[in-house]
């Protein structure tokens, strides 16, 4: 790390500059000026009352906010849906640039949190005792809210991956549910041969899915050390992924339909999309968006890269963080803790969210919940098992939001032309590094 003092500028940069200590990011002494906030301070703040503005699109927070206000009548939670993921980040970025209208709490997905942590636009929650919660979260999400020694948010939900599959379709064509990705490719061939309209899954190139699969395959493409970044999509794990996925692309075994589109929902409902490797938060979406598929779908562990292994990975999920420019930090933290670690978690589970807290993941009631949609299957057992098996050493880029935005410009080419997937990843790597270098990062070749 450079020894001289760095100026980290937010957004437009003209508006504010924050001088940081000699060892800028991720070191242990850059919060020395921040005094610890004890439980007593937080209790006092709750007694005194005030208002907290929360930007979040997570639907289950509504009930949590109401309960919180009931418990602490003097606190007013102003829950605002300021847009969904990227829209909200843009809004947040703008507000930070303007130094005005910044919320006190913001929902930020794990892959996006790094950038805010790097520029210190979100508060290190260690001072509020967040680091003591380390043991209560499953490894994937906890690792995602940490940056160096700091804790920049509390995990709200998590997305340990599983394979959702349409049992009716598999039964009809007598195909076994794949347990490895090789079997998955085999199943894809069989299925598409038996019914040319049916596909094993739909994929036109999705950064979230690709990075999750790389994660599971043991690849470590992103090396981040403060302001030094390196990207490498050629390690052994990445090769496993490209070799397998290339077969699916070459043999046209992936339905070329974009996720979350009308067509996609239709495909999930009518059996033409047979599986979905995705995060454990998906059931609620199935119930509300794919009513026709009720009873047909089941959940299985994610196929493995090595037979007999039980490695999983995370897909999606978000945290609640405290923007540095927010107000009422004590109250804001109290709410975040209530929602993501305290009583709010149970409320959110009841409303369909998937928790990140090990206590809840392992509770009997949770594991024994039967999903009528999945034919009465106790799907949470599969998800909870998956959550335990997420390798904790994955890192995203500190500008992953931008990198993901150009995924289809580069890797997308592999889906529509003769470009190889590995070449697409190489292009993505190059474009991402170029951006990093333009933004002043040191590039680690």
């Amino acid at each position: 790390m450079p020894k001289h003092s760095r100026r980290l500028l937010r957004g437009l940069g003209l508006l504010c500059a924050l001088a940081l200590g000699a060892t800028a990011c991720g070191s242990d002494d850059d919060n020395s000026d921040q005094k610890a906030v004890g439980a007593a301070d937080i209790q006092a703040a709750l007694k005194k009352g005030g208002s907290v503005t929360v930007w979040a699109w997570e639907p289950t927070l509504k009930q949590v906010a109401a309960d919180f206000e009931k418990k602490y009548p003097k606190v007013d939670i102003n829950l605002v849906n300021a847009g969904t993921n990227n829209d909200q980040y843009k809004a947040l970025q703008n507000a930070i640039s303007a130094k005005k209208g910044v919320p006190d709490v913001a929902q930020i997905e794990y892959y996006a949190l790094g950038q805010y942590a790097l520029t210190k636009d979100v508060t290190d929650l260690k001072a509020y005792g967040a680091d003591k919660l380390a043991g209560s979260y499953s490894p994937g999400p906890w690792n995602s809210v940490k940056s160096g020694d700091g804790v920049y948010g509390l995990p709200m939900d998590s997305g340990p991956m599983a394979l959702f599959y349409n049992k009716k379709v598999f039964d009809k064509h007598r195909i076994a549910v794949p347990t490895t990705w090789d079997e998955y490719v085999e199943a894809a061939r069989k299925l598409h041969k038996a019914d040319p309209k049916a596909y094993i899954t739909s994929d036109v190139g999705d950064a979230g899915l690709a990075t999750s699969l790389l994660w599971q395959a043991g690849s470590h493409p992103y090396k981040v050390d403060g302001t030094k970044v390196g990207i490498d999509f050629t390690d052994a794990g990445a090769k496993k992924y490209t070799d397998t996925w290339q077969q699916l692309i070459d043999e046209k075994l992936l339905m070329p339909v974009v996720g979350w589109s009308d067509d996609w929902y239709k495909g999930l409902g009518d059996g033409t999309i047979a599986t979905l490797p995705i995060g454990a938060w998906m059931p609620a979406n199935f119930v509300s968006g794919v009513k026709d598929g009720s009873g047909d779908w089941r959940v299985a562990p994610l196929p493995q890269w090595t037979k007999g292994a039980d490695t999983s990975s995370e897909n999606g999920g978000s945290s609640l963080a405290l923007p540095e420019l927010g107000k009422n930090k004590e109250l804001a933290y109290a709410f975040v803790e209530y929602a993501n670690s305290g009583e709010g978690v149970q409320t959110r589970i009841e409303n369909g969210a998937f928790p990140a807290t090990t206590k809840d993941l392992n509770s009997e009631a949770f594991q024994n919940t039967e999903f009528p949609y999945f034919g009465g299957q106790k799907a949470n057992k599969v998800f909870a098992e998956s959550a335990r098996n997420v390798p904790a050493d994955w890192k995203y880029l500190p500008y992953q939001v931008y990198a993901n935005s150009i995924f289809n410009d580069t890797v997308g080419k592999a889906y529509v032309s003769g470009t190889k997937l590995s070449q697409g990843l190489a292009d993505w790597q190059e474009a991402s590094l170029r951006y990093g270098s333009e933004q002043g990062f040191t590039i680690d070749k």
Partner: protein, 314 residues
């Protein structure tokens, strides 16, 4: 046209009354003496254009009668078994504590103040350009067009930062102020005022001792009424359909216009735990354009005359 040229980019345009062609001595009577014979062939040919225009709208109308499941399982251009239009409309207005009604009221506010104001400014400005000689006059329209040529998506962030400093973001003003500018409206009123307001009449009013303002309101404005209706129509559509600017300026859903609200409903299907409400998005879309279409139809007479009236004055 508002500043959100991105959403309602000033693509289409021209003067409704643009021709200077031979002075308008004899007003043209509709289908004068030699009324042309109607042609089936021409009607059929133009009918192709009609189909092109209406089929997508038909999809919207039919889709609005379907349930969420019906949308997924049935052919787009025909009805599903369940006829759920009334249920959908009821649900659209009651979903999320009836926020749709709030969005509708917001949109009306933006239209009344924004489009109304834009029309007023355009009328005043057009009148000035047509009837006064003032320093810098030649530059005005050139500057307007030049500024419109710069892509507004890039201006959005600077505008946001400025508005933020002025404390205007997340308030109706952030939407209304930019809506007040209609370059096309200005051009249209310029041409129209040059035609419709005889300079002699204004001179006479001045000689009678009327102030400029009084002369404008009492003499010129009534003459400009038809053109005003036309400009109002265009600014109304632009404001009603405004999307990009509100997206940047507004965080609070309570201030959303309809377009932004529908977009939010559409997007919530793509988030963890979000409820897919495509049937409400479709029904909401239909309800969004219905008032505009109704206004078109009801006001047809006015804006038609507005577009043509300039010629019949003499």
């Amino acid at each position: 046209m508002t500043m959100s040229g991105t959403t309602d980019a000033p693509r289409p345009t021209a003067a409704p009354k643009p021709t200077a062609a031979p002075r308008l001595r004899a007003p043209r009577r509709p289908h004068g003496p030699g009324r042309p014979r109607r042609s089936i062939l021409l009607t059929v040919l133009t009918g192709v254009m009609l189909l092109y225009s209406l089929v997508p709208l038909l999809w919207l109308v039919i889709s609005a009668t379907k349930t969420q499941q019906g949308l997924a399982r049935s052919f787009g251009l025909w009805f599903d078994g369940d006829f759920a239009l009334w249920d959908n409309i009821t649900e659209t207005f009651t979903y999320q504590d009836g926020v749709f009604g709030r969005w509708l009221l917001n949109t009306l506010l933006y239209v009344v103040v924004g489009a109304g104001g834009a029309t007023l400014l355009a009328v005043l400005g057009g009148y000035a350009l047509a009837k006064f000689d003032f320093p810098g006059k030649r530059a005005v329209f050139a500057v307007v067009i030049g500024a419109v040529a710069v892509p507004t998506t890039a201006l959005a962030v600077p505008t946001f930062l400025m508005f933020s400093k002025l404390g205007l973001t997340d308030t109706p003003w952030a939407i209304i102020l930019p809506s007040l500018i209609s370059p096309f409206g200005l051009y249209l009123m310029w041409v129209f005022a040059a035609e419709a307001v005889p300079t002699e009449l204004m001179e006479a009013a001045r000689i009678d001792g009327a102030s400029e303002l009084r002369a404008f309101f009492q003499v010129a404005l009534p003459l400009l009424a038809p053109g005003t209706v036309t400009v109002l129509l265009f600014t109304t559509v632009a404001t009603w359909n405004n999307y990009f600017l509100p997206l940047i300026m507004l965080k609070d859903p309570d201030w959303y216009p309809l377009t932004l609200g529908l977009d939010a409903w559409n997007k919530q299907a793509a988030t963890a735990g979000g409820e897919a409400v495509f049937n409400l998005v479709v029904t909401g879309s239909l309800l969004t354009i219905a008032p505009l279409i109704a206004a078109f139809l009801l006001l047809q007479k006015y804006w038609q005359s507005g577009l043509a009236a300039g010629s019949v004055k003499e």
